[in-house]
């Protein structure tokens, strides 16, 4: 939520920039947006009509770059490096940060070896520096670095832009959560009723026993 609040103004700014710039200057806007240190969401910019109209023109590779930053990873860039324009260091860092978010989507425990391989980092120190300085300090992830087990335990990761096919899965998960919460509430209600009934029965039983005791005392 903090991330969204922080980047809301930036998203508005770049969307306005995309609306107002002509076709020739849009690539600069895209490069500026993908280099910005505080922006991690690009769906809104992708949805701007001026940007979508770039497809089929000589600037369509920049739309691909924006798409890569919205949904892709550093590995995806390496696979398509001939087709895509060269990236500035800020863009490379941004893409690697977004890659960590993608990895955290599927696994909560990220082994150092896998991260070093995916992010092209040569040693553990460099990886930890990257995770701490670029990921944790920027607030996109929160977690624990376990040096003994050589893994990064992710407690929180900011959400990336959604692909259309991911929406259905999300809806199903939310429905499942809602159902299990409702079931929990129903079972709590049932337990409350059961406890009340038991308590009433107990009191009645106690009273019966006391009455019988009194009656026995009087008769003896």
């Amino acid at each position: 939520m903090d991330i969204e609040q922080k980047q809301a103004d930036l998203i508005d700014y770049f969307v306005k920039q995309a609306h107002n710039h002509k076709e020739e200057s849009l690539p600069n806007v895209i490069v500026e947006a993908t280099s910005n240190s505080s922006l991690f969401a690009f769906s809104e910019i992708l949805a701007v009509p001026n940007i979508t109209q770039l497809r089929g023109t000589k600037y369509s590779v920049f739309v691909d770059v924006l798409q890569l930053f919205a949904h892709g990873t550093w590995s995806d860039y390496k696979k398509n490096v001939e087709r895509l324009p060269p990236m500035v260091p800020d863009q490379i860092r941004k893409l690697k940060q977004l890659s960590v978010l993608t990895f955290a989507e599927t696994n909560k425990v990220l082994p150092y070896d896998k991260l070093m391989q995916e992010l092209d980092v040569s040693n553990v120190r460099e990886l930890e520096d990257f995770l701490i300085n670029e990921c944790m300090y920027s607030g996109i992830v929160r977690g624990k670095l376990d040096q003994l087990r050589r893994c990064f335990e992710v407690q929180f990761a900011a959400g990336r832009d959604l692909r259309p096919e991911q929406l259905e899965n999300m809806i199903r998960t939310l429905e499942s959560w809602s159902t299990s919460s409702d079931n929990l509430l129903v079972s709590i209600q049932d337990k409350i009723k059961w406890a009340d009934t038991k308590s009433e029965m107990n009191k009645k039983h106690q009273k019966d026993v006391e009455d019988r005791m009194e009656a026995a005392k009087k008769s003896s």
């Binding site: 998960t173 499942s176 299990s180 919460s181 929990l184």
Partner: protein
């Protein structure tokens, strides 16, 4: 007026009327009746400060003073401040270490515009309940001799966490030699075996006051905001995990009490028919207390477990 809202009434409580307080000091109605003060009203701020201070002491007893005023038969506690002393149960008049601090604090308060006087002291009994020990009784008697009106408040921060509500008691001692006409009925509480003698010997030398709380409209707003900020901490904590030592101590104490009750029965030859009616009743009530204590410990544990199970079902049973 009867049509005013509770928060407006509470806000009016914060007004300090010098004239009324001076009149009370002049008339001294408490001097004629040892039972004069019957109620205590504690502000949310004072309660929070006292409980946080008590909790910060861990297993060490802490101590502080309360500021406020009188209103008929009620002592109103507006604020509280900590004293730089600890271990109040191990020496008589631990307050003596903090006299200079108390004087400085009171003087500075008046300069800052806080007109309320010191109306009592509070201290903590971590894990062993709210009552006055022999040392507490002598301290309070001394206070009531020279600093009237004065109130003693005891907080148990450990039982507060365990029970989920503030374990607090307010007391006033009787004058030396005074015998209370009626025995007051106070809420039952478990007393550990190693403290039971100290509790029993002095329990008739003081009486409890009814405690109610109040907060201003600003306090309501601030507490709401605090709740929003701290609900995550509240949700994530568990008394099962946080109070393990205390629960282990309680169970150990219960076991000792059971053993003691059993030994007493055996020492009388075992046969119930040989017991004098009075003695049998005493042991029955001892066993009854033990069962009540065991039920209380269990209920608190079950509450803790229920919250863990609910959290597990809510947050761990859903998968993508």
């Amino acid at each position: 007026s009867s049509s005013s809202s509770p928060s407006v009434d509470s806000d009016a409580l914060y007004f300090y009327d010098e004239t009324t307080q001076t009149r009370y000091q002049k008339e001294k109605p408490w001097a004629k009746d040892p039972h004069y003060f019957k109620r205590v009203r504690i502000s949310a701020l004072a309660l929070l400060k006292m409980v946080v201070h008590a909790r910060s002491g861990g297993t060490i007893e802490i101590m502080g003073l309360m500021q406020g005023k009188i209103d008929g038969d009620a002592i109103i506690v507006m604020d509280a401040f900590a004293l730089p002393v600890e271990g109040t149960e191990t020496r008589v008049n631990a307050q003596a270490d903090a006299y200079e601090y108390m004087v400085d604090y009171s003087t500075t308060n008046k300069q800052a515009g806080r007109l309320e006087n010191v109306v009592g002291w509070y201290h903590s009994h971590p894990g062993y309940g709210c009552w006055l020990s022999g040392i507490d009784v002598s301290t309070q008697m001394l206070n009531q001799q020279y600093q009237e009106p004065f109130l003693a408040v005891v907080i148990d921060p450990t039982r507060t966490v365990s029970a989920g509500k503030v374990d607090i008691g307010a007391f006033r001692t009787f004058p030396e030699g005074y015998k209370a006409p009626d025995e007051h009925v106070s809420e039952y509480q478990t007393i550990p075996l190693n403290k039971i003698e100290d509790f029993g010997v002095h329990c008739k030398q003081y009486y409890p006051l009814d405690i109610t709380y109040f907060k201003s409209s600003l306090d309501c707003r601030l507490l709401d905001l605090l709740w929003n900020k701290y609900w995550v901490n509240t949700l994530s904590s568990s008394p099962l995990v946080g109070n393990r030592d205390y629960v282990a101590g309680q169970i150990s104490d219960l076991a000792e009490k059971l053993e003691q009750a059993e030994n007493q029965i055996h020492s009388r030859g075992g046969g119930g028919s040989f017991l004098l009616p009075g003695k049998k009743k005493e042991e029955e009530s001892q066993l009854k207390k033990i069962t009540r204590d065991s039920s209380k410990i269990t209920v608190e544990q079950v509450h803790g477990l229920m919250s863990q199970v609910i959290k597990d079902t809510l947050f761990n049973s859903v998968r993508q």
